[in-house]
């Protein structure tokens, strides 16, 4: 179940109608990984959700690469905080 599936980067770009250069610049900014295998470039299926989110942020909201980096970091923090809040809520429930 933890096996990582690889998606050809070209195929992904075709599907989402984005330039491969876009993927390269995401890699430059350390936002995604591009896996090289026998001269072909692949994306990890585990990162697809994040990548699609990045595409929406960039194309729908016009957020640039630096902005995406900031947004993703803040979202991760938000997720951690929400998780922590959930745990604390459960602890509070215990004392009710």
């Amino acid at each position: 179940m933890n096996e990582q599936q690889l998606i050809p980067a070209q195929e992904f770009c075709l599907h989402h109608q984005v330039e491969i250069e876009f993927i390269y610049s995401l890699r430059e900014y350390g936002l995604i990984r591009v896996i090289n295998n026998e001269g072909n470039e692949y994306l990890s299926s585990e990162e697809l959700n994040e990548l699609e989110k990045i595409i929406r942020l960039h194309y729908d909201l016009n957020v640039n690469m630096e902005g995406i980096d900031v947004v993703l970091n803040l979202l991760r923090q938000l997720e951690d905080t929400q998780h922590e809040m959930n745990e604390l809520r459960n602890q509070l429930r215990f004392y009710k």
Partner: protein, 298 residues
């Protein structure tokens, strides 16, 4: 069905230029986009509203029609029918391009549907395949149900999905079922289904992380002299030794009799038993005599 003031939704004046509208929309979209507002239903709803407003106001023809018929949408419907008959209808449902993956732009208000006949028709930027909207659902479980790994069948959009709920799932925990959300747009992949587990409180057991807490009554004599008591755990009965001189609210830990650790088979938290000492009431004459005698010995 309510009249929706799209100008108000975008916070612009009726005389606003296309550029002003675009700017206002972009600003609000950045604020309320579902990707930057995870788990925020209010923001998702607001986002739908601003999208709908933008759909209408950013397009000259749409805007004209809205300005003309907006307040009287019922007539607009008739107007549309007349137009259709003349083969001039330019709007059709389902051709939308600017479809945001999460959070659902797909649902337009009844007002919009009546005015423009179905969501979608828009002269947008790019014809992109987008994954469908994510669905959010809640699943209520009893504490005892969350104790064991079990399967449950859910019905989503008329389809049955069988899911395995691993033992030890937390209250408020979310799982993602890939591809079980709304269908994709323009051939894009399906959205996901997010299920939040709500674990209901149990009368006998309280849960704190992986540990369980329960009260057990001990009669006065066992508490004083020591002895045995039977305690109900979540997985069955358990005989416990009560040491002599046990005080009220004494907490004792039974290792490994708590809640299963999520996705760690065979691992369990602990069970804490809090002894509640039961003081006898309605004493008989003889009992009273003996207790009095005892009290004099101290």
């Amino acid at each position: 069905m309510e009249y929706v003031d799209y100008y108000k939704v975008l916070g612009v004046d009726k005389s606003a230029s296309t550029d002003d509208i675009k700017k206002a929309y972009r600003k609000l979209a950045r604020k309320y986009h579902p990707d930057v507002n995870p788990n925020n239903k209010e923001a998702h709803k607001k986002f739908q509203e601003i999208n709908e407003a933008n759909e209408v106001l950013s397009d000259a023809e749409n805007r004209k029609k809205y300005d003309q018929y907006g307040k009287d949408w019922k007539h607009a419907e008739e107007f549309e029918k007349a137009r259709q008959q003349h083969g001039q209808r330019t709007y059709s449902g389902g051709g939308g391009e600017e479809y945001f993956g999460e959070g659902g732009q797909g649902d337009f208000s009844d007002f919009f549907e009546s005015l423009f006949g179905g969501s979608g028709g828009r002269s947008g930027r790019r014809e992109t395949k987008f994954r469908g909207q994510d669905y959010q659902a809640e699943l209520h479980l009893k504490l005892r149900e969350a104790y064991t790994t079990h399967q449950q069948t859910l019905t989503v959009d008329g389809k049955n999905i069988r899911i395995t709920i691993p033992a030890g799932v937390e209250n408020g925990q979310k799982i993602r079922l890939k591809g079980h959300g709304a269908p994709g747009v323009n051939g894009g992949p399906n959205g996901d289904l997010y299920i939040t587990f709500i674990i209901e409180d149990d009368l006998r057991f309280k849960r704190l992380g992986n540990d369980l807490y329960t009260n057990a009554e001990v009669d006065l004599y066992t508490a004083i002299l020591g002895g045995e008591t039977t305690v109900e755990t979540i997985s069955g009965k358990l005989k416990l030794k009560v040491p002599a001189g046990t005080q009220n609210d004494t907490k004792t830990r039974v290792k490994g009799k708590g809640f299963p650790v999520y996705k760690k088979e065979g691992e369990f938290g602990d069970l804490y038993i809090i002894y509640k000492i039961k003081v006898p009431t309605q004493l008989s004459e003889r009992e009273r005599e003996l207790f009095t005698e005892l009290s004099k010995l101290r």
